[in-house]
Symmetry: C2
Amino acid sequence: MTPRTDIEAVETANTTFYEALERGDFEAVSDLWLPDDGDGEAPAVSCVHPGWPALSGRGEVLRSYALIMANTDYIQFFLTDVKVSVHADTALVSCTENILSGGPAEEGADLGPLVGQLVVATNVFRRTPDGWKLWSHHASPVLAETDDEEGGAGPEGGETPA
Amino acid sequence: MTPRTDIEAVETANTTFYEALERGDFEAVSDLWLPDDGDGEAPAVSCVHPGWPALSGRGEVLRSYALIMANTDYIQFFLTDVKVSVHADTALVSCTENILSGGPAEEGADLGPLVGQLVVATNVFRRTPDGWKLWSHHASPVLAETDDEEGGAGPEGGETPA
């Protein structure tokens, strides 16, 4: 059995990550990603934003957040379906990100157009002396459900196989 | 430093997974997913197919593969950008799946229409006495690259934030 305290600590790390994104707090987001190993071997953190190819290594991942923050004036995450599985020093978190976001305002406007997005994320954390840190974040768009599909196991009814 | 043999064993497990999908070998795919714990606690395996919401637990995950196999007559994966990171008994694999697939043929035809897809996957494996087994698979569509986007860090240029 996983100690209840481990699951709570991972849930807190996961929530802290999204709160840092909501505040556009680049330092806090950086701090939540696994640091480079002392021996110079990269920890090979990995990040996939919705619709993006994979980004690899702290440099590439953190630059993507700087770019995203520069293009985002407002963002809010409503997390649902949060599932945590802990094994030894690794934790797997699956959650649905119900996102409301807006880009920079056009001239003369108070706020850019708001966009709602339904995204599913898999976050992998590792236990470190400084707490649980992100090893991998993979987020992808959930396409509209079509209830009349055979089986109904997913929106694409078996046509997208892996 | 991670022993070279660990990385090779994880690469082999990853390749074996995609070969089993290509053969439509449901037993082999089942065998590659982490088994339930002996104490009745679910290992909480997690799986996201491209465009799908998250599936959780062996039952839900394996049913989705049965459904996908029933709707897929032909599928081939060309893996590129395979990156492996091993920490203790957990391994993180990031790869691009260049997929060519076809559904069941229409009446009178030899093969259904073939579809190409560009998908990025994050696979998390755990070391077990029976080898490396899948704890999580998350696959998502890579949307078309637009080279004239600012920064070029991704196809959506910072508009999809997590």
